[in-house]
């Protein structure tokens, strides 16, 4: 007979996974727990509390989301189109192409207006960034970047620099010099570094800070002078495709939209995700604030644009039409916020009445997808950038 020591082991259904197996009798904070050895290991490795499993966390998350929807619905006492019934309809618009900016050798992916209301910067798949005086059609500056697919570009508020970035995973700031012989690309300064492509960038209220969104699922705020990361924003679970700064008086928030179909509102100071909206059925390609800062619009591959009210904390309008099949890549509001322009993958720009929810007009002219639409700072014109290598100014 051997001299063996036995450890008393129980056998039965595990407290966590309910499977019948040999159980480990352990104590956590004086509480007896009978888990099978697999669940004990899971608990230890994944930092779960007692009673938590992946399944239970998922359930709790879903329940909370449901509760959130209920809460949002409680204050929903009227719909936007009902309130808009008393408003006069929008008069017929006659927007025409007033300028065609030709010069890019490949798809134009992004553009941004300068605060002087007539200049703009555009970037293209071939790595070129061009600064135009759109009024005279003059190309004032040309920058050649070493990467292709420059998906993001922005004009600095002072008008003295531009930011651009894309497949190089960086966002660089280039000071604009008037010396024609100078190679602007040489003065380029890398500011933002991401681990995947840069999809959007925007200066904050000054030339000194840059906000970027990236395919690595994060947004980040950078100090231009030092290249230091001031704040990073985590919460998206897929590529972030677009961002926009809030025009509020306290100027502390921005919204981002991405491939996880979510639009998140962030506090720039703390990095926290303040609000989240998940009602699109496909990637959100673009987000843009309503001029008052109390709402924002989003454009998605599901061929709809949606309007979200930040104070009521819910989606208040969906802009869609049966005949619009192709995804929307970009949106912007007119100066008063009454009109919403959406650029689509079927080469058209649709104009919506924001309040009544109807489609007012449609613009034809481009020969390939629209990548970006932007209203000029004083609201006098709309600029559209397209994969047909050109930009158009409509007024």
């Amino acid at each position: 007979m051997c001299d063996q020591t036995f450890m008393a082991a129980t056998f039965g259904p595990c407290d966590s996974c309910s499977k019948a197996s040999p159980l480990m009798n352990i104590y956590i904070k004086s509480e007896a727990i009978n888990y099978c050895s697999f669940c004990v290991e899971m608990m230890a490795c994944q930092g779960l509390q007692k009673g938590e499993t992946l399944a239970s966390l998922k359930k709790e998350s879903e329940n909370l989301k449901k509760k959130l929807e209920e809460e949002r619905g409680k204050l929903n006492d009227v719909e936007l189109h009902q309130v808009a019934e008393k408003v006069e309809a929008v008069a017929a618009l006659s927007l025409k192409t007033r300028r065609v900016l030709k010069g890019h050798g490949n798809k134009v992916l992004c553009m941004d207006w300068c605060k002087d209301k007539r200049r703009l910067v555009s970037s293209s798949q071939d790595g070129k960034v061009i600064v135009w005086d759109a009024f005279t059609l003059n190309k004032e500056h040309g920058i050649t970047l070493p990467c292709t697919w420059v998906m993001a570009c922005a004009y600095a508020p002072s008008g003295c620099a531009v930011a651009c970035g894309g497949l190089d995973n960086k966002c660089s700031v280039v000071p604009l010099s008037l010396d024609r012989t100078e190679n602007l690309a040489a003065k380029k300064k890398s500011v933002a570094m991401h681990t995947n492509y840069v999809s959007g960038c925007s200066f904050t209220n000054s030339d000194m800070q840059l906000l970027t969104s990236s395919g690595d699922g994060t947004c980040a705020l950078w100090d231009v002078e030092s290249g230091q990361l001031l704040q990073s924003f985590h919460g998206h679970t897929a590529d972030v495709l677009s961002l926009d700064l809030a025009p509020s008086e306290t100027g502390n928030t921005f919204v981002s939209g991405g491939c996880d179909m979510k639009a998140n509102v962030w506090d720039m100071r703390s990095g926290q995700n303040i609000q989240s909206f998940e009602s699109h059925e496909s990637d959100i390609n673009c987000v843009k604030y309503y001029p008052s800062g109390d709402a924002f619009a989003s454009a998605s591959d599901d061929a709809t644009c949606r309007f979200y009210d930040l104070r009521a904390d819910r989606e208040v309008a969906v802009y869609q039409k049966d005949s619009i099949i192709f995804g929307a890549s970009s949106v912007d509001f007119s100066l008063s916020g009454r009109l919403l322009f959406s650029g689509h993958n079927d080469y058209t720009i649709n104009i919506w009445d924001v309040l009544k929810g109807t489609r007012v007009s449609i613009l034809f002219g481009h020969e390939n997808r629209i990548s970006r639409v932007r209203v000029s700072p004083d609201g006098t014109a709309l600029c559209s950038a397209s994969w047909d290598n050109s930009l158009r100014i409509w007024a």
Binding site: V83, S276, T380
Partner: protein, 469 residues
């Protein structure tokens, strides 16, 4: 067609949903009751059944979607460009003509979404068939591609030729009308999936995304993800929400208030520079002008932000505050803005300046902040950071907004400004509309920046690189 080997790189969900929607339109078009009336079309001496004219397609689209002719033409053209409808006359030109030109629906077998992606092998077989069937039928670019394929998949060339011959033999046993139809369908398919040079590639989707799809799955199912979702949801539940009726009324009011200021909706006086080529509108509304326009001065009364965002408005407001001996508030606010948005390296220096000028006891421009905020700010100044002045700045901002701003709007200073503000005359439409005005260029803001930077010497002030408010 041969059996495709397992296609790598399936269609992205975005592309798939687009195809599905187009396919729904197709199905609706072929609905026996609500669909299109189709007829037999003569093609040379053969009669092709189930064809329709371009005009029919457009009419049907107009009726179904209640859209105008231009939009129907555009939508129909998309259907042709993506290969769902193909032309019988001039089959190489994938364009929708709004006339009696005959078109046919593509069979689902040849939909791009069904056979994605088109394989090299199938293309080689197609080109071989064309070559065997009729010498010289291949176009120049097709000949080039054929020889390229011959090099690339040389090892299976016997198979290619054999398949081609088999398919040709099988087709000879069909009725002539069916044979022509099949040839047209196949040709349409390859025009989309292997477009000729110079023709737009409809299947160019750009960059693939999401880019980190490989890491997406573990990210979504990890505990940390759910924990952060729970945290966000809990925080969101605690938010204060405002009733919809109040919020939505806000949007209506805002749009009404700004409607006259929206050039795209109401036009602008004297004229929209983009339309008339006359930059008078911009000249009249430059940052600093002797006499501002009426609309501009009116806008200062819409919100405090509007007043502060306009350089002239801010200047006027400063003048008013000086009369009231409370100008230090605006100076303080401006200095705080410069800290918040300026270079990181200058923060400490600027915070010290602000403390000395505005917060220290006996300071020249001492601002009146409540003691709690003052204590908190003074404590924070010991370890200065970008947001250390936020609370104090907010306090002063709201003080100005609730007190000085409303009084400014009632003051004579503002009222006089409004009275002498100019309302430009609308420019009469040019007598000779064909004569285009010369478009004048304007000085680049970059030039202004460069000059200012030179004047400053050391880049001390933010006037050059800072915001233009």
């Amino acid at each position: 067609m041969t059996i495709n080997t397992l296609a790598k790189g399936g269609l992205q969900p975005e592309q798939m949903s687009c195809f599905r929607k187009m396919e729904k339109v197709l199905v609706a078009m072929q609905d026996p009751d609500m669909g299109m009336k189709m007829r037999n079309q003569r093609l040379l001496i053969t009669v092709i059944p189930h064809a329709m004219t371009g005009h029919d397609i457009i009419t049907w689209l107009i009726q179904k979607y209640h859209i105008c002719e231009e939009e129907a033409l555009h939508l129909g053209e998309m259907l042709v460009k993506y290969g769902y409808i193909y032309p019988l006359k001039e089959p190489r030109c994938l364009v929708l003509r709004p006339d009696e030109s005959p078109y046919r629906f593509q069979t689902p077998y040849f939909w791009t979404s069904t056979r994605w992606p088109a394989s090299e092998l199938d293309y080689a077989i197609y080109l071989a068939k064309k070559n065997i069937r009729k010498q010289g039928e291949l176009m120049e670019y097709e000949k080039e591609r054929y020889s390229l394929l011959h090099k690339r998949i040389n090892h299976t060339w016997d198979f290619v030729v054999m398949q081609a011959r088999e398919q040709l033999r099988a087709s000879k046993q069909r009725r002539k009308a069916d044979r022509i139809v099949l040839e047209c369908q196949e040709q349409a398919y390859w025009l989309i999936n292997r477009p000729p040079p110079g023709v737009q590639n409809m299947l160019d989707w750009g960059l693939e995304r999401p880019n980190n799809s490989s890491t997406r799955v573990p990210l979504v199912t990890s505990n940390d993800y759910y924990k952060s979702e729970i945290e966000t949801s809990r925080r969101a539940l605690g938010r204060n929400r405002v009733k919809s009726s109040v919020c939505l009324e806000g949007f209506v009011k805002y749009s009404e208030q700004y409607q006259n200021h929206d050039p795209i909706m109401q036009g602008c006086l004297p004229s929209n520079p983009w339309i008339s080529d006359d930059i008078a509108y911009w000249t009249m509304n430059s940052e600093i002008v002797p006499v501002p326009t009426r609309l501009r001065v009116e806008r200062w009364s819409f919100s405090f932000m509007e007043l502060l965002s306009d350089a002239m408005g801010r200047r006027e407001f400063m003048t008013y505050l000086e009369k009231e001996f409370s100008a230090e508030n605006l100076h303080f606010w401006q200095a705080c803005e410069e800290i918040r948005h300026g270079e990181s390296s200058k923060i400490i220096e600027k915070v010290e300046d602000v403390y000395r000028n505005f917060l220290a006891p006996g300071a020249a421009r001492w601002v009146n902040i409540d003691s709690k905020t003052m204590d908190k700010t003074l404590e924070g100044i010991k370890r200065p950071h970008r947001f250390v002045m936020d609370d104090a700045q907010m306090h002063i901002y709201f003080l100005m907004k609730k007190d000085s701003y409303p009084r400014y709007l009632k003051s004579d200073l503002y009222k006089n400004m409004l009275a002498k503000a100019v309302v430009p005359q609308e420019t009469k439409k040019s007598v000779f509309p064909f004569m285009r005005r010369q478009r004048h260029s304007s000085p680049s803001p970059a030039q202004a920046g460069a000059q200012a930077a030179e004047e400053d010497g050391r880049a001390g002030t933010n006037s050059a690189a800072g915001s233009h408010f």
